[in-house]
Subunit: 452 residues, 2 copies
């Protein structure tokens, strides 16, 4: 494992890891005055203790430490960094091989000091932290800090101040992060190309998924999230791959890579299994594509992301009106959330170390201070409500779905009875789910689409 | 997810799931008199709560319930089975799609009753259980049972009786299990063939790993454990794939598939990157192959697995003597654990739902009652010490490794100074690690090698 850290740095072609990490710490230090301790966590067990899931360090640790190193912690006092980690025992070296020393790791990340974990306790007095995902480490956090921890989005002081500061620091990406995200996006594009090519001969969803993830694994990356590769795109979080591919099906693939330092891509394409859209599939695809393109054109510094979401909704509503599926003025249809019958999720989210970046912080990251989630059916799933700023990476992922749980819901059918032409909609039964998703970097002058 | 359970059953071509599960319950009922409650567990979070690792139910739940169903439990009263599970809420159906009802699942597995989770508490009085791996569920177990739980290998009554009974029931496999394990082995063989083929053009370990796991994913299975695909086979638990392949390297691939119902294969092959062994690699490979073959020939009902381990050690010692690397009589070299300098692990382990089957039960599963681990360097890592019985599946995986942590250890060099010809050994520097591993079913008359 250790060997890989060193390779990841040199292979990335990115700016010096140590210098970039130092800048991150300096930015944090301007926003928070208490000491900070962040833990990396450890792998949870799968079916028995020695058969663990692949380790993935806490994103907050990764951001400031740049090491996918289990059972480690860092203390930040101002911009002064101490790395805490125990070198492997001789028995561990026997099974896991030799690796860098604590000092070598510390040097790699520009740490000012490096100590065994036993020394960590004396750095914990009054320190702020963020709870990691694995409960074993969380118990260690609580023991050393002498207090109980809650989910970051519910944190009280001093942790709440840290949550706010980290959200601010991680919101706009630096060159190191962008270099990593471009690498993830490049591999992800190749995975999608492989999936599309494999569809010509594949007989099941599983075969297409395998062709896509092969590209990611071959690049020594991992899927950033459970891939969605399905002919039932209307099941929004569908992580099963058992269906056979039929000639009239659309295949929706939402697959993204993550680099060894943890930076993610998130990309969706939808293509016809046969290679040819039916006329009805083509009609709807064009509408989703138009929504996608119009949203990306509209992205610029200062634009409210919520307006991007509403633009997607309006373009979808316009298109569905033009096809005779919705009836009325597009603006009014959106105000009544009629678009959400077919597009119930938000147009996207922050992207970074997490595929929903900083989602563990809840809306403290995604929502501008003072803003809260809407109750509206057409807005309540919007994960990001901030003005866009240079350095932010967001996804743009409009979609069209025929979800029985929504379209067959008596309350919804009643509420939208005058706005939907159900007979007309029945003619589009071969369009179960379409989504087109790209990763968009906001630049000073406009955008860079990482996944294109 | 639910759709997949139903498919897994029908696709397996195995005996009726419900009937086989009923037989398992009946066997358990003859061995334990207290009621039993088993939980399936839930997925741990990766970097944020909604981005979880793929779900894998507790093996004990899977064995008796046959469903990879999160947040579920079963109560066994004699052979009477009650399934506890809450059907998805409308919001969950919106995101995760429709699935079978509780009654449908209950019928599929031959449950006698099916109830919501809220009813589980009344089944917990005096019940025995086994702690699952994820701590969220473990807390629920403790709350409902009103007592704290420890690792199964440390369990006290009534759980200890259950551990013993389950170890006895799961030790020898029924037809359903064997049908699943043959499917896993078949896909695993194809994965190894793909890895070997990919090596011709691959430039990194990661590319070979990707080619192997693609086969597993395309079959809608998952890797049963973190694949080892490395040119540094001497790092025994090496789960990193960053090395470039060089013409003189040996590539060691330890990769196995797991079926949707959780049954595992575990297979290792070692091949030359160039397609051609060097003479020194060929010499050592032949010795490991001989140990592998002789062990499989020796396996039969009634044979002690420990003797299989010692046979592997003896054949390796004989070979190393013939090459002039070890000096002395092979039997005496094994008695002095000199083989363990190059073969420090056990010759194999139980295989079933877990790749180290029932390892969560510790040596209560792997060791015949009354036996304990040896302190000997050459035996202390032996995971299985029982007489072999028909229906047991064991791995046979002798190996040869040049592990610096062992061979450079001053204490070891001193202890074995007269038994190792270090100069001669230096001539074999291009043999860092070789392992050959197959999965062997003990039959009434001999063996069936599942992975061959």
């Amino acid at each position: 494992m250790q060997a890989e850290f060193l390779q990841a740095e040199s292979a990335s072609g990115s700016p010096s890891l140590a210098a970039a990490l130092r800048q991150r710490r300096q930015r944090l230090a301007t926003l928070i005055s208490v000491p900070v301790v962040l833990w990396s966590g450890q792998s949870p067990s799968r079916n028995f203790p020695a058969n663990s899931y692949p380790f993935r360090a806490s994103s907050h640790f990764l951001y400031f430490a740049g090491l996918n190193l289990p059972k480690a912690a860092i203390a930040l006092q101002g911009s002064h960094l101490t790395l805490f980690w125990d070198e492997p025992t001789p028995a561990e070296v026997l099974w896991h091989g030799p690796g860098p020393t604590r000092s070598q790791l510390a040097e790699q990340i520009g740490a000012d000091d490096a100590r065994p974990l036993a020394d960590l306790e004396q750095y914990c007095a009054g320190a702020a932290t963020i709870a990691v995902q694995d409960s074993t480490t969380r118990q260690q956090q609580e023991k050393l800090l002498g207090r109980s921890l809650v989910a970051p989005k519910l944190a009280q002081e001093p942790d709440r101040a840290l949550v706010g500061a980290i959200a601010q620091v991680r919101l706009c990406h630096d060159d190191l992060a962008l270099a990593e995200m471009r690498r993830a996006a490049q591999v992800t594009r190749r995975a999608h190309a492989a999936g599309r090519a494999a569809t010509a001969t594949a007989t099941t969803e599983a075969e297409v998924r395998a062709a896509m993830e092969q590209v990611i694994l071959a690049a020594d990356m991992t899927p950033a999230y459970s891939s969605i590769v399905t002919v039932h795109g209307e099941v929004l979080h569908n992580c099963h791959y058992g269906h056979r591919l039929e000639p009239g099906d659309l295949l929706l693939a939402d697959v993204g890579a993550e680099t060894p330092l943890g930076w993610a891509a998130d990309m969706t394409r939808t293509w016809p299994v046969s290679g040819q859209f039916s006329p009805t599939q083509c009609d709807i695809y064009d509408i989703v594509q138009a929504a996608h393109d119009r949203c990306i054109e509209a992205i610029a510094p200062g634009v409210e992301y919520r307006e991007i979401h509403l633009l997607a909704a309006r373009v979808l509503a316009e298109g569905l009106v033009s096809l005779g599926i919705l009836c009325g003025a597009p603006e009014e249809l959106v105000e009544q959330d009629a678009h959400a019958l077919f597009f119930p999720h938000g147009v996207g989210h922050l992207l970074g170390l997490d595929v929903h970046d900083m989602e563990d912080l809840g809306d403290l990251a995604g929502y501008e201070p003072g803003r809260t989630r809407s109750d509206r059916f057409g807005l309540c799933y919007l994960r990001l409500d901030r003005p866009l700023r240079p350095g932010m990476v967001v996804t743009v992922e409009p979609g069209f779905y025929q979800i029985p749980a929504l379209l067959q819901d008596p309350e919804k059918r009643d509420r939208y009875s005058a706005l939907v032409n159900w007979d007309r909609l029945a003619g589009f039964a071969d369009v179960r789910g379409i989504r087109i998703e790209d990763d968009v970097l906001v630049t000073a002058t406009g955008v860079e689409v990482l996944t294109e």
